[in-house]
């Protein structure tokens, strides 16, 4: 009992925050965190030690997140490149979940690489949590302008993410 409690205690927070950084809201994060732990516990190989259990757990978290996003993809994705592009982590070992960078740090790095206007609109909507109306007022734009701008800024941010962070 103590060993499982320790294992859970050591990994729950990390897994939760990792998933949160991938889906952006608590409700879905709770669902996916539950799924991850349940899957991991169900398929636990009793011969594994705790360290390899941890790796297994992280792997399950990654595929759970990938499955979540995949559900929103257009079905026509069939080339491996497209799949990888679409976020399928594949069998490749990607960056460890306990990465040295927090979501905040990663976002700051991306923001630093954007134009001032892109930076401002994304900061307003995501970091300051301003509404469309407030953002428009702050930036001296119409609401329609902001909707277009945030879309394009996010798109550019998405494109930069791989370059700035060095991830696939």
């Amino acid at each position: 009992m103590q060993d499982f409690q320790t294992f859970y205690q050591e990994n729950f927070g990390q897994i939760y925050r990792y998933i949160y950084s991938k889906v952006g809201n608590h409700e879905d994060t709770e669902d996916l965190t539950s799924q991850t732990f349940i899957k991991a516990v169900r398929s636990v190989d009793h011969e594994r030690g705790p360290h390899s259990m941890q790796k297994w757990l992280f792997q399950v978290a990654r595929t759970t997140v990938a499955d979540y996003w995949r559900a929103y993809y257009r079905i026509s994705v069939n080339s491996l490149d497209e799949l990888l592009d679409a976020g399928w982590e594949g069998p490749v070992e990607e960056e460890p979940i306990a990465a040295s960078t927090t979501p905040t740090e990663r976002v700051q790095r991306i923001l630093a690489a954007l134009s001032a206007r892109d930076r401002e609109v994304l900061t307003c909507r995501f970091l300051l949590n301003l509404s469309i109306k407030e953002t428009a007022a702050k930036m001296g734009l119409t609401e329609a302008n902001v909707k277009v701008l945030q879309f394009r800024a996010l798109k550019r941010a998405a494109g930069l993410e791989a370059i700035v962070l060095g991830t696939g």
């Binding site: 060993d3 499982f4 927070g13 991938k22 929103y72 257009r74 998405a158």
Partner: protein, 332 residues
């Protein structure tokens, strides 16, 4: 950048809707049929959202709920591997018991709350045998949906959910020891043998417990029956009148969870019986089910009581996993 999607008016609207959902704090649904580029954009939005100064921390209740659920699951899995079921239970394997039982604010099931929210199982699915209630596990559905699947075991045992969880934890703990294989001989369930009246205890001796003060001997003698409640269970204590050879000990303590569906039974002083408000279950002074429609139920499970030299009576209750406000948290 070739292959770039044409921007459509809907794109802006859909993104705006997604951002508003994120800001509102509830589940956010990206639009369907995303191209890889679009998907990447939405994932970036999720990343940006998670960098917001608002907390990314999980609710402690959620951490506790999930932990309890994992223990209950492991218990079910162990049951299925073990072929030691003494009884063939009736009812289809994939019973649709899955209505949300635990609402979000609760931790490990407090008996006094759970019964009101329980699903009523149609009569034919209740095991008619009076042996161990090892009912078929509910179907293994993903918990991605909003319902929380609760094992029938926990419904039947009611207050034993916490105990079952603790019991399962022992088995689960064994799995997490380095290099250890589960020891079948040490395998623990809440009720490893058919419950014998007078010997049927809720908590396996290995389960860590705390002592919960309930009353003094003097009080108990004058009140006859005292009800008590902790985070994890509700129970009754009474003095042993010595009129039932099966019952031992100076003080008798038992769980108040009806062994039918887990509702909290009420002690009635006029007949000195425990009545279940849900389906008419009836138990005699030491928890034995009386003749009648519910005669095939198990007796109310016993709890271990201790009388100290100073006359104070304590009952062993499952040690809580974490208390609100305590130093222990689930975050590494």
């Amino acid at each position: 950048m070739s292959g770039e999607d044409q921007e459509r008016f809907e794109d802006y609207l859909e993104l705006e809707r997604y951002i508003e959902e994120l800001q509102a704090g509830h589940a956010a649904r990206p639009p369907k049929d995303l191209t890889p580029d679009q998907a990447r954009l939405y994932r970036t939005a999720a990343l940006f959202r998670s960098a917001s100064p608002e907390s990314a921390s999980p609710r402690p209740e959620f951490a506790n709920e999930l932990y309890a659920r994992l223990l209950a699951l492991e218990d079910e899995d162990q049951d299925e591997e073990t072929q030691k079921r003494p009884v063939v239970t009736t009812g289809p394997r994939s019973t649709s018991v899955a209505a949300p039982v635990m609402q979000t604010e609760q931790t490990v099931v407090p008996v006094q709350k759970a019964p009101q929210e329980q699903v009523i199982i149609p009569a034919q699915e209740v095991p008619q045998e009076q042996a161990v209630p090892e009912p078929p596990a509910v179907s293994r559905r993903s918990v991605a949906g909003k319902g929380r699947v609760v094992s029938r075991r926990s419904l039947l045992a009611g207050g034993a959910t916490a105990a079952a969880s603790m019991a399962a934890g022992v088995a689960l703990g064994a799995a997490f020891k380095p290099g250890a294989a589960p020891q079948q001989s040490g395998h623990v369930t809440a009720t490893p043998t058919p419950p014998v009246y007078g010997k049927f205890f809720l908590l396996h001796p290995d389960i860590p417990t705390d002592l919960h003060y309930v009353a003094t001997v003097t009080e108990l003698v004058s009140k006859k029956v005292v009800k008590f409640a902790t985070d994890t269970l509700v129970g009754y204590v009474r003095m042993n009148d010595g009129d039932d050879k099966a019952i031992e000990g100076t003080v008798v303590a038992m769980s108040a969870a009806c062994t039918h569906m887990g509702c909290t039974v009420d002690w009635n002083p006029s007949d000195d019986h425990y009545h279940c408000p849900c389906h008419g279950g009836l138990f005699a002074e030491y928890g034995k089910p009386v003749q009648g429609p519910t005669q095939y139920m198990m007796p109310l499970p016993l709890l271990r009581a201790h009388v100290m030299d100073n006359g104070k009576i304590y009952v062993e209750v499952p040690r809580a996993l974490s208390k609100p406000g305590s130093a222990q948290s689930w975050e590494a």
